[in-house]
């Protein structure tokens, strides 16, 4: 049964409701949105006994203060933003029992940019075109298509106390988690507009170091580094772009498109970040340094399949009665 579950005491820097995005309508120009770090939200959902696609809160840098209006189980995935429950620190990647009246708050960002708060039963809002994800620019999804505000009350449907007690206390093994702090290059599948760049332009892209500017939001990351040279023009006939697509406009500085990207773009696409490296990218803050490395589609597919297998194993483990 749907019941009032969370009350927003302080909204934080930018807290929105997100799930895995609004797919199926891109041909009509409808933006996908969804969690920036979809891996983190999926794991957090699994830890609280949800479907991976249930809606959760995406918390950015400075987190909100949230009072719980009913008992539930929560888990935090993604960035470590020093979450506490009634002043007691709670670690990420672990499901925790929450009692009615307790307050979740956040402190100093330790690493990463975006944390996901999943609650047992998921967050209930009216879905729009099959998704609860918030797309602020077009005021779509979530609550009135906006960021959370002080005083918002969100509904949920938590399970019975017996079920909640069973779900609480689950953890994820370290090996399953992406190495968020790794300085390994971000891997890229080249194209489809590689021919728009000179040989030396491509070499620059794959050898230079790029810094995340202050312009890093849900739509995309503007990077700053060595100028990537085009052959003639940076402009292409507007064409589809996806999560992780790297466009290079005429100034030669790459832009990586992320969750709130438009469905198409008009700048040459030098490549697209592979799926398994997207979480690490989505957690980069301004000032973060990035290098790129070319990888084959076959290798990227294998890495993705391995990760999905591990996630599947995790969901099986949670579903069974043996608890960690």
């Amino acid at each position: 049964m749907s019941t009032p579950l969370l009350k927003v005491e302080k909204p934080g820097l930018m807290t929105t409701i997100q799930d895995l995005g609004r797919t199926g309508y891109q041909q009509y120009g409808i933006v996908v949105s969804g969690a920036m770090d979809s891996f983190a939200v999926r794991v957090a959902n699994i830890l609280v006994g949800n479907e991976e696609s249930d809606a959760a809160l995406e918390v950015t840098m400075m987190g909100p203060h949230i009072e719980f209006l009913a008992d539930t189980v929560l888990a935090i995935g993604g960035a470590d933003l020093s979450a506490s429950l009634d002043d007691k620190r709670i670690p990420p990647w672990k499901s925790v029992y929450v009692k009615k009246g307790q307050v979740l708050s956040f402190g100093k960002p330790e690493h990463g940019m975006r944390a996901y708060v999943a609650v047992n039963g998921g967050i209930e809002v009216e879905p729009l075109l099959g998704s609860k994800s918030t797309y602020v620019k077009a005021k779509m999804g979530g609550i009135e298509g906006r960021e959370l505000q002080k005083g918002d009350v969100l509904n949920g449907r938590p399970s019975s106390k017996e079920v909640l007690q069973k779900v609480a206390g689950l953890v994820v093994s370290r090996e399953l988690l992406p190495d968020y702090i790794s300085s390994q290059p971000i891997r890229v599948i080249g194209g489809p507009d590689e021919t728009a760049f000179t040989k030396s332009g491509l070499e620059t892209f794959y050898s230079g170091e790029y810094e995340c500017t202050r312009d890093v939001d849900r739509m995309g990351y503007r990077l700053l580094g060595p100028v990537i040279e085009h052959k003639e023009t940076a402009d292409i006939l507007s064409d589809a772009v996806t999560m992780g697509t790297i466009q290079v406009p005429s100034n030669g500085q790459p832009i990586i498109l992320l969750a709130d990207r438009q469905t198409s773009g008009g700048y040459a696409r030098i490549g697209t970040v592979i799926s398994v490296d997207l979480p690490r990218l989505a957690q980069q803050a301004p000032g973060g340094k990035i290098r790129f490395q070319s990888i084959s589609i076959e290798k990227a597919e294998q890495l993705l399949r391995n990760r999905e297998k591990a996630l599947f194993q995790l969901s099986l483990g949670v579903g069974s009665s043996t608890q960690q």
Binding site: L128, K137, P192, L237, A240, S275, I297, A300, E301
Partner: protein, 241 residues
């Protein structure tokens, strides 16, 4: 010649149909999208047609890139026998008056035409929707007369109301949401291009034709009333090609 198939990351494949904007390319793209729709492949999530390509998003856990290339090749062999469904022409009423048309006089002056001549040229003939994007339901249209092609505003407006009909170079378009924008605004349609609560959230589909019809302010208000009362019927017809 560019490659027929190219990966866009590890979850999408781009199928190229040409390198320029042309009606023939658009016809092949439309036919291919129709094939995708009919074949209902389990591994395919969605697709995005553009001026010169179709990008297909697939489930990488269910099909590898090499295999999706094969499937797309198979579909392409059926393209020739494909009977294209007739295109739809949507008549879009536009009020080219007063506050709805802040740049109309500027556009007329730019080409040394009268305001009425600009409206006559703009409402004359069909525009083809090549793709939707920019904002939900925003149509990228081709086919406008060079006689009224006008550069964008030097200073974009911070707010252009939804329904505004604009010109940018040789393109014409209709704003689907209230957004900032730099197109020369010459009129406004009462029609709602995007509504997430509608069964078809977007008024248009890629491949549709658009023809503008000039209406008075009174008619604009009347259509708005009918839209609210849900009694307005979109004026569309089959295009004979």
């Amino acid at each position: 010649m560019e490659q027929r198939f190219a990966p866009v990351g590890d979850q999408a494949i781009r199928i190229a149909f040409g390198e320029t904007i042309s009606k023939e390319t658009n016809r092949a793209i439309r036919a291919f999208c129709e094939l995708l729709k009919k074949s209902k492949l389990d591994e395919v999530i969605e697709w995005v047609p553009s001026y010169s390509a179709v990008t297909v998003y697939y489930k990488p856990t269910e099909i590898r890139y090499a295999k999706i290339v094969q499937k797309m090749e198979e579909l392409l062999t059926q393209l020739i026998e494909m009977d294209l469904p007739p295109a739809k022409r949507v008549i879009v009423p536009v009020c080219y008056e007063g506050k709805f048309a802040p740049d109309l006089e500027e556009v007329a002056k730019y080409h040394q035409l009268s305001v009425d001549e600009v409206i006559k040229i703009h409402t004359n003939g069909d525009y083809l929707i090549y793709m939707l994007g920019f904002t939900p339901g925003f149509p990228y249209m081709g086919g406008m007369s060079k006689e009224i092609a006008t550069p964008r505003l030097e200073n974009p407006r911070s707010l252009v109301p939804a329904g505004s009909v604009g010109i940018a170079g040789e393109q014409t378009g209709i704003y689907s949401l209230d957004t900032p924008g730099g197109w020369q605004v010459i009129g406004r349609t009462p029609l709602v291009l995007y509504d997430g609560k509608r069964e078809n959230p977007s008024l248009f589909e890629a491949g549709d034709h658009v023809r503008f019809r000039s209406i008075s302010l009174d008619e604009y208000e009347e259509i708005r009333r009918q839209l609210v009362a849900k009694t307005y019927e979109i004026d569309d017809e089959i295009v004979k090609e």
